[in-house]
Symmetry: C2
Subunit: 357 residues, 2 copies
């Protein structure tokens, strides 16, 4: 039980077609994972046996920053080198902004007819304050399908953007002159996750000021960060990403100097520099050994996610638990128990201890 | 172990002062809960033994809808009746909008000098896609402190606003003419949670159109909803809130007719009608038995939250688990395992089964 790693016959057939590079097998696999069909974890186990290979590029930023246009530009440029590109676009299902975000998709649809580009749009469906585990699993599927690059676009609402590091090797943070001041962004943790900063819509007023603010904030941060650099190896995700940084355009002490670039996605201005920065970061990841650190950190997050998802499943499917819960709710309403005494009772059942009453 | 329900001596002393109504004891209790200090669950168990009493009013809506101003108006009005008011204001810690949201707080600070009003501002800290469990627990503390009303203000980003039903008895959804069309809002689940709709900043263009759209959307919904009304009793939260609704201003068949009101918080216009609607809803909750349904549904969510929080804690504190995890990560990096086989191994350790290798 628990996490099954034995693949079903039907999934074995799917896996064979998946490995042959049949796009419809990828689409089916994604659907199996997204819907958490029976055996989906065993399927993922089989798929992931060969390890990650794609360059995973995350693009995040506030609504309206032009991320989709930028992703479309990046994908188009990579395509010119005959690369195969996978794109995962994550839309938060906000009650207020749902429609507006979908409008953003239109430009990306131009790419949808290209057979070497595979686009998958996913709703976050109110999941765990970051990227849903299934979203990360879909990114893994794309990777295992052996796209040269997998682009992951997430809209920044709440904490989603901070978890992009749990899916991507290289994180591009996109801001626009209107999106508020750079210092504010720095405070909120974007600095820790950005491998490349982009000020998009740079033809608008305020672009240079934002650029300067980001650089200043990074300078301040670098000053303090250099004193407290932990060893990376085996550190957890939050520490791995808090790396040594410099404001100079050259790497210092083997660290990565985060480029701060200007683009105008609509005209393609600045996109070549962005592509160069992305490639440069990839080269640095491999050379420095940081890629392995990040993959290890990512594996840690995934194991945690899978274990917790399974614990929730184990906890609530048991009949004994169901009975104790219902009885407990009656007792709470009658003023004879609290959620804490009921939870203690339910936990005993889940963890196979005796009843405590 | 697990969820301890035995209160410590220090907490027993705190509890005594809390029950005496000493505001500083409330502040200390909130801090104990917010920081999940040892024994905080036992403290909550003791505090909640007497059951809920306050009228809990949730106010939610998009950033910039004027929720804080409206909450300030509501609190001021209740204060004129000598009521004691608790306010919990939940700020999402978005990297992009952090600053703007804080600006919204200024108006509420006028209230902070009133000894009968207790305000607590909380960050969501990237928690579980809704209201953090600790946030709901702070609302419980406010309730147990016997405020006449507890006002809970949440900003709608992602799914936070939908979970307000897990903390409030009466949910006021605030929209503004600028916040997009009513149909969109309806689609996204706001209709299920709203007990009262408010179009704030109603002196701006588009207010009447939004008002009309909301009413129309509710009419459409009521048409379908009436055919599928489930029994309420014991249903889970999502079903409990999906109640029979009517677009007529009078309750139909014992259901609640959701008022759609206009306000201008800055001038106080429309606020008396809002207060009346809130009081009317409370009366209906009690009369119809729906208050008990909602409390039961809330208890169910809380038990689930507490159990899952504890399962996570149990899972990750064990040394055996730690060793299996680290060894597993090494194996993943070496290409000899996947997160799924490691998760299976970790789960066996957590649930007290033998090693599977």
């Amino acid at each position: 039980m628990a996490v099954d790693t034995h693949i079903t016959d039907a999934h074995a057939a799917l896996l064979a077609r998946f490995r042959d590079g049949v796009p419809i097998a990828l689409a089916r696999a994604i659907s199996v994972v997204e819907n958490e069909r029976p055996g989906f974890q065993a399927f993922l186990h089989a798929v992931l046996a060969e390890g990650p290979e794609s360059a995973r590029i995350g693009v995040t930023g506030p609504p309206g920053a032009g991320k989709s246009s930028l992703v479309a530009e990046i994908a188009t440029a990579f395509r010119k080198n005959e690369e195969h590109i996978g794109i995962v676009a994550v839309d938060p299902t906000s009650p207020y902004s749902g429609g507006a975000l979908l409008g953003d998709r239109i430009r990306m649809n131009d790419l949808a007819t290209d057979p070497r580009i595979f686009i998958r749009s996913m709703a976050t469906r109110g999941s765990l304050g970051g990227l849903a585990t299934t979203t990360k699993e879909v990114v893994d599927l794309m990777d295992a399908f052996r796209f040269d690059r997998v682009l992951i676009e997430t809209v920044g609402v709440g904490q989603t953007e901070l978890e992009i590091t749990a899916a991507a090797d290289t994180v591009v943070v996109v801001l626009v002159p209107e999106s508020g001041d750079g210092i504010q962004a720095m405070k909120a943790g974007l600095m820790e996750i950005a491998d490349v900063f982009v000020v998009n819509k740079a033809d608008r007023p305020g672009a240079d000021r934002l650029l300067k603010e980001i650089r200043q904030a990074m300078h301040l941060r670098a000053g303090t960060a250099l004193k407290n650099v932990p060893a990376h190896h085996g550190a957890d995700l939050s520490r791995v990403v808090k790396k040594e940084r410099s404001t100079e355009p050259e790497p210092v002490d083997g660290g990565w100097a985060v480029p701060v670039l200007k683009t105008v996605a609509q005209t393609g201005e600045g996109v070549p520099d962005l592509l160069e920065a992305i490639d440069g970061h990839r080269a640095w990841l491999i050379e420095s050994g940081e890629l392995e650190n990040r993959r290890r950190a990512r594996a840690r997050v995934r194991v945690r996610d899978v274990v917790e998802r399974e614990l929730r499943r184990v906890a609530w499917r048991s009949e004994v638990v169901g009975e104790r819960l219902e009885g407990g709710l009656d007792a709470i309403v009658a003023g004879e128990a609290t959620p804490y005494s009921v939870a203690a009772d339910v936990l005993d059942a889940v963890l196979g201890r005796g009843a405590t009453g």
